[in-house]
């Protein structure tokens, strides 16, 4: 392993980024899958007989949710996932653009994904109270604070070194 002077907190942040990237990635996949299933339901109606997803899709229809809404959420989630994953590399290399700025945008994208999920999805799909959403919002705020206050100089010094 190469010797580096990266602070341990930045390494920990990259691990947390990975965790949240996977988490939002899973939710993103779910949005896309549900959107395609919803398109099928809109075209062909709810399948007859016993079907576990019946109530679920019925609620989506009742809420007026469209496949497009879910796909938009999916795209937001995808952007957040990709940015969070790429910024892991940026954190480890202390790269100002890939790490600090992509990480910031990734955090904002994660926050947007959470907020729009709250606004558009039925309450019981979120499987928790508003405080669980507040908990989800904590990480983007925490991430942006750490990148721009605590570790700011570490990214800028690295940039300075590369330019000289």
């Amino acid at each position: 392993m190469a010797v580096n002077d990266r602070p341990g907190g930045l390494t920990a942040l990259s691990v947390l980024n990975g965790f949240f990237a996977l988490s939002v990635g899973g939710a993103t996949i779910s949005r896309f899958v549900v959107s395609y299933k919803l398109m099928d339901v809109l075209e062909n109606g709810l399948p007859g007989g016993k079907w576990r997803g019946r109530n679920y899709y019925q609620k989506l229809l009742d809420e007026g949710l469209t496949p497009l809404d879910l796909q938009i959420l999916g795209v937001m989630g995808l952007i957040a996932t990709v940015l969070l994953l790429v910024s892991i590399w940026g954190f480890l290399k202390q790269n100002n653009v890939l790490g600090r700025w992509l990480g910031t945008i990734g955090g904002v994208a994660l926050a947007c994904f959470s907020v729009f999920s709250i606004l558009w999805l039925p309450q019981d799909f979120l499987r928790g109270s508003g405080l669980s959403i507040a908990r989800q919002m904590f990480y983007p705020v925490f991430l942006i604070f750490m990148l721009h206050v605590i570790f700011r100089r570490d990214f800028l010094i690295q940039r300075q070194d590369l330019s000289t």
């Binding site: 602070p7 341990g8 907190g9 930045l10 390494t11 920990a12 942040l13 947390l16 309450q123 019981d124 928790g128 109270s129 508003g130 405080l131 669980s132 507040a134 908990r135 904590f138 990480y139 925490f142 750490m146 605590i150 570790f151």
Partner: protein, 305 residues
């Protein structure tokens, strides 16, 4: 050498270093995340209208009563099962515990009380994450040798203890503020006028609760030069003492008093309806913390570094 100034410098350095270190980031993140998760546990049934406020008051009062009976070592009786315990409370046998539970969930904001009670159980397990490497990390890598010619050992220890305390208190304030703001906006039954004074009271309870556990973390950090061992020792004693006392109590009841080796034995009194008990519990927390701190000081001052 101005000792007070040095203590302040070490405290500030400890806080800024924590925010840059892996263990510090993990500590801050986990504390906030777990704190909000505990609050979520309390709030969800009401917010999603799974239960009514009255139903939750009733069930949480019973649960709190059982917990208090266990904590006050009155859980064991002839039959020793929860149903008997609950009926003992209803019959007026453990009337003081029933009144205590009522004080927490009926007379004061219930959701905040439940959150703080849960925090009171989990915080002792989280606090070591913020203090286990405070001394042992520098001793292991001999970084402390750069400090010793410039400052006294007691300044280093007390300063870092103070830094750990300030960090822990800041996180608690953040958690309580978040929960109070959220409850005042989202839960109609909770008004700001009731929440703020009770939040202040709860903060004081958690403020005093933090002192002995952070001091225990510092003691283990000063005793063991390997940070991981210090962490295991702190968490091990925090979990081990109550488990040991509760299991040994079965064999011989007085052994249950081992619970008092750590604040588990009296920390519940910090939210007691009786002011004298609160003052007593706060004083015990202070003394307990002071004891651990003095032991840590003695250990650190005599250590070969």
């Amino acid at each position: 050498m101005n000792k007070t100034r040095h203590i302040g410098l070490h405290a500030i350095k400890m806080i800024s270093h924590s925010m840059r270190s892996g263990s510090g980031v993990a500590f801050i993140f986990l504390t906030i995340l777990i704190g909000l998760s505990l609050a979520n546990l309390a709030v969800t049934p009401i917010e999603l209208e799974l239960v009514t406020v009255e139903e939750l008051q009733d069930s949480s009062a019973r649960a709190i009563g059982v917990a208090l009976a266990t904590a006050t070592l009155r859980a064991s009786d002839e039959d020793d099962n929860q149903g008997t315990l609950t009926s003992r409370m209803e019959n007026g046998d453990l009337i003081d515990l029933g009144m205590w539970a009522r004080y927490l969930v009926i007379e004061n904001p219930m959701l905040l009380s439940i959150t703080v009670l849960l925090l009171g159980v989990v915080l002792p397990l989280l606090l070591p994450l913020g203090s286990f490497t405070v001394i042992s990390g520098d001793v292991q890598h001999r970084t402390v040798r750069y400090l010793l010619p410039r400052t006294s050992r007691s300044s280093i220890l007390i300063g870092r203890w103070l830094g750990s305390m300030i960090l822990a208190w800041s996180l608690i304030i953040f958690l309580l503020c978040s929960v109070v703001i959220y409850l005042s906006i989202m839960i109609p039954s909770e008004s700001l006028e009731d929440l703020i004074p009770w939040a202040g009271r709860c903060f004081l309870a958690l403020f005093f609760l933090t002192i002995p556990y952070v001091s225990l973390g510092i003691l283990c950090s000063a005793t063991f030069s390997v940070p991981m061992v210090a962490l295991l020792a702190t968490v091990g004693s925090t979990i081990g003492v109550p488990l040991l006392s509760l299991s040994l109590q079965e064999a011989w009841e007085p052994l249950g008093n081992l619970l008092y080796l750590l604040p588990w034995g009296y920390s519940h009194e910090l939210l007691s309806p009786t002011t004298s008990k609160v003052v007593e519990a706060s004083a015990y927390c202070l003394l307990h913390g002071l004891l651990f701190l003095i032991l840590a000081l003695l250990k650190f001052r005599r250590a070969d570094l």
